[in-house]
């Protein structure tokens, strides 16, 4: 036993899979200890905030300001508003307006902006221009306002008595603040989702729930598969015939059909994560049954089993002492695969709208479902779906690697 475990941990495939899996598991366990926020708490007003560090503007304005004289500051400021694409767009508008091409130098920022300011008119819509495009130019125009100014921004407060604005300070273009000194900074490494929830916190919580679903589904499927497989293989005869009849039946009838029917019949309100896991478990035992049965049949007439029978041991005793130890490795491998396919099944169901009820807990499938419904993939909000796919792929990849590693340890013939 000790030797086998040592050998398992010497298999590179198992080790890689195990490390990935343990990493994911540890993150799921320890992350909530550091970030105590509710995973489903809506913090963002609006959808899909980009990943980044969010600094409270009010606190920023009021925090200590430092002056740094950096030469490229103005250049960077302009570049952030006026990239190559914007310059080309401006050229396009100006050409349509009738400015001769030779008068437009898109790389001379000052002249370009001057030309623009002198000619641009929000109300003009050229033939063939969509209204979306017209609005875009409007937004571009707004963002250009004051771009070349070298003045600071004046802060003003309303005088309670007179109702007039009084200047309270000025923010120069050379003013900086130290992020560490701002009272309210929120890091959103993966931005927010369509509801304005912190993606990372939600993702970690969803991974935990999905692993739990996989674990419950896998345990149920393995227990059923093991029991039926043992009965069919060891007892044989009509018991075997009946069990194999149902096993073959459920091999052919696609489990997705059963999942859809059962999930729908349960109804969304009753569909918690555990219920979904149980349903998945009850529809995915066929392969384990087949595998266990085949193993048991090959063991049934071995000498040590016969000896045990002759010694008058009960069926239960024989199964526990003479059969189970020999098929334990297969059962463990089947269990691992069941967990990962359980996670995938939940994800598939959720995308079809049949996942756990949405208000309770996030799952990887639900997150995917939300991202798809809100078209995150089409709008280029990669942080809303890509990390979810990566986590699903990593979980199932790590489980498969562990399984292959175990397989090679237990079946030396498969080694190359």
């Amino acid at each position: 036993m000790k030797h086998t475990i040592r050998e398992i941990f010497h298999s590179p495939k198992f080790l890689v899979g195990f490390s990935i899996f343990m990493f994911i598991l540890l993150v799921v366990i320890f992350y909530p200890l550091f970030v105590t926020a509710e995973p489903l708490e809506i913090i963002g007003k609006g959808t899909f905030f980009e990943p980044g560090i969010y600094v409270n503007v009010y606190d920023g304005v009021n925090s200590k300001q430092y002056t740094l004289n950096l030469d490229d500051a103005a250049e960077k400021r302009i570049a952030s508003k006026l990239g190559d694409q914007e310059r080309l767009d401006m050229q396009e508008w100006l050409l349509s307006f009738g400015i001769p091409e030779e008068e437009i130098d898109i790389y001379d920022t000052e002249k370009l902006i001057e030309l623009w300011e002198n000619n641009y008119d929000r109300s003009i819509r050229f033939p063939g221009m969509t209204s979306a495009r017209q609005k875009y130019f409007g937004r571009l125009n707004t963002s250009l306002a004051g771009l070349l100014s070298t003045e600071g921004i004046v802060l003003a407060a309303e005088n309670q008595e007179t109702g007039e604005l009084e200047s309270t300070g000025i923010i120069e273009q050379t003013n900086y603040l130290n992020v560490g000194q701002v009272a309210n900074v929120r890091v959103l490494p993966l931005g927010t989702d369509n509801f304005g929830r912190d993606m990372l916190t939600e993702l970690v919580s969803a991974t935990g729930t999905s692993l739990k679903i996989g674990f419950i589904a896998g345990s149920i499927a393995t227990m059923i598969g093991l029991t039926l497989g043992l009965l069919a293989g060891y007892i044989g005869g009509w018991v075997d015939d009946i069990i194999m009849f149902f096993t073959n039946l459920f091999t052919v009838i696609p489990s997705i059909v059963l999942l859809i029917l059962i999930s729908y019949s349960i109804g969304q309100e009753q569909r918690g994560a555990v219920t979904v896991a149980v349903v998945i478990g009850f529809t995915s035992w066929v392969w384990t049954t087949r595998a266990v049965r085949a193993q048991v049949i090959s063991l049934r007439h071995r000498d040590h089993v016969n000896l045990s029978k002759l010694s008058g041991h009960s069926v239960g005793h024989i199964i526990v002492h003479d059969i189970l130890p020999y098929i334990a490795s297969y059962v463990v491998m089947a269990f691992i695969l069941q967990i990962s396919s359980g996670i995938l099944a939940e994800a598939g169901l959720s995308i079809l709208g049949l996942g756990p009820k949405t208000t309770d807990v996030p799952t990887l499938g639900l997150m995917m479902n939300w991202a798809m419904i809100y078209s995150a993939h089409i709008m280029g909000k990669w942080w809303a779906y890509f990390p979810v796919i990566v986590v699903i792929a990593l979980v199932s990849f790590s489980m498969n690697l562990m399984n292959t590693g175990l397989d090679q340890v237990f079946n030396p013939a498969l080694r190359e």
């Binding site: 073959n248 039946l249 091999t251 052919v252 009838i253 696609p254 489990s255 997705i256 059909v257 059963l258 859809i260 029917l261 059962i262 729908y264 019949s265 349960i266 109804g267 995938l344 994800a347 598939g348 995308i351 079809l352 709208g353 049949l354 995917m368 798809m372 993939h377 089409i378 280029g380 990669w382 779906y385 796919i389 699903i392 792929a393 199932s396 990849f397 498969n400 498969l414 190359e416």
Partner: protein, 334 residues
């Protein structure tokens, strides 16, 4: 000949048994809910419906469809009779459109998308797996890790990745629908072209998913066969490696065909989810709308159709297998 007849009739009987089981499950599962199924279904279906008369009408229709006032076996007969007549009741999310009508317009999209994709993915996957097993070095080192990774990507993951790369970033293909949203189905070239263009991303995402799993399976089958005794014997009789390889791949292919028969249900399940990602107008999207619209008759009909599709596909593959594998004939004559 006798062997074939025995094999085929065995398969046919099994096909009929599974068919009946599919009908029974479709009939029984919703009735396992506690309470009056018609009341529950009605209640769920009419959420948001204000008029009491409307709700009553829905209840009536269900009661009639299911014949709930009759004993259970009569209900089953009514159910079978209705289905055989092609009567799946009326849809609730698209009332008063008949369910059969909705199915008619979506099933062909799914059939035309999924079966060619699964077959192509199977062929490419097997070829790559065989090459990986035969060439071993290099090729094996590249194809295998890629295949393993791809096969671990869920079907919808592959769909999203393709969609983002080729649909959004490169904008080579449209991202959703079965044809241009501004078009009405007709037989013009413009429409056909639109269908072809919309077909590409869903098609290739299903193909790619199928390739990964098949390549891995084929590789282990081929490695197993390459070490078989007959390979050694053939070589020692001076037969060219090229001929021996033909034996190996043919023999490794056969279990892959039965493997396809066993896994086609899972593959179609994954492909349905991929359809949803692309808003492809097939059965996958129909399920989603049915679920969203609490449309019970539609869900029941779609699951039945999917079960029929999978069962028929499995049956066809097994029939085909009977012709291809000579051992079938021999084994049955004993």
């Amino acid at each position: 000949m006798k062997g074939y007849v025995k094999y085929f009739s065995g398969k046919l009987v099994w096909f009929l048994i599974t068919l009946v089981a599919a009908f029974v499950l479709n009939f029984v599962l919703p009735r396992l809910m506690p309470g009056d199924p018609v009341a529950i279904i009605t209640q769920r279906t009419v959420q948001g419906m204000a008029s009491q008369a409307g709700i009553q009408k829905v209840y009536q229709q269900y009661a009639e469809l299911f014949g709930t006032n009759k004993p259970i076996h009569e209900q089953f007969i009514i159910y079978i009779q209705n289905i055989l007549k092609g009567d799946f009741g009326l849809s609730f999310s698209q009332y008063p459109r008949p369910v059969a009508d909705i199915l008619k317009s979506s099933i062909w999209w799914t059939v035309a998308l999924q079966f060619p994709a699964i077959i192509l993915g199977w062929l490419i996957g097997n070829t790559l797996g065989a090459l990986a097993a035969y060439l071993k070095k290099g090729f094996d080192k590249v194809i295998m890790p890629v295949s393993i990774f791809i096969s671990n990507l869920p079907a919808f993951g592959m769909a999203v990745v393709l969609l983002v790369i080729f649909g959004v970033k490169l904008a080579w293909f449209p991202t959703s629908g079965g044809y241009g949203f501004d078009m009405i189905p007709n037989l013009s070239w413009g429409f056909i072209w639109s269908v072809i263009v919309h077909y590409q991303l869903p098609f290739w995402s299903i193909v790619l998913i199928a390739i990964g799993g098949q390549a891995i399976g084929m590789r282990s089958m081929a490695i197993y066969e390459l070490n078989a005794d007959y390979v050694k014997y053939s070589r020692f009789l001076g037969i060219k490696d090229r001929t021996t390889i033909k034996y190996v791949f043919r023999n490794a292919m056969l279990p892959q065909i039965t493997g396809l028969a066993l896994s086609i249900g899972t593959m179609i399940g994954g492909a349905l989810v991929a359809e949803v990602i692309f808003s492809y107008p097939g059965l996958g999207s129909t399920i989603l709308t049915a679920v969203m619209g609490q449309d019970y008759p539609l869900i029941s009909a779609v699951t039945l159709i999917i079960a029929l599709m999978v069962l028929s596909a499995t049956f066809l593959i097994e029939i085909l297998y009977g012709f291809i594998d000579p051992r079938i004939k021999a084994a049955q004559t004993d």
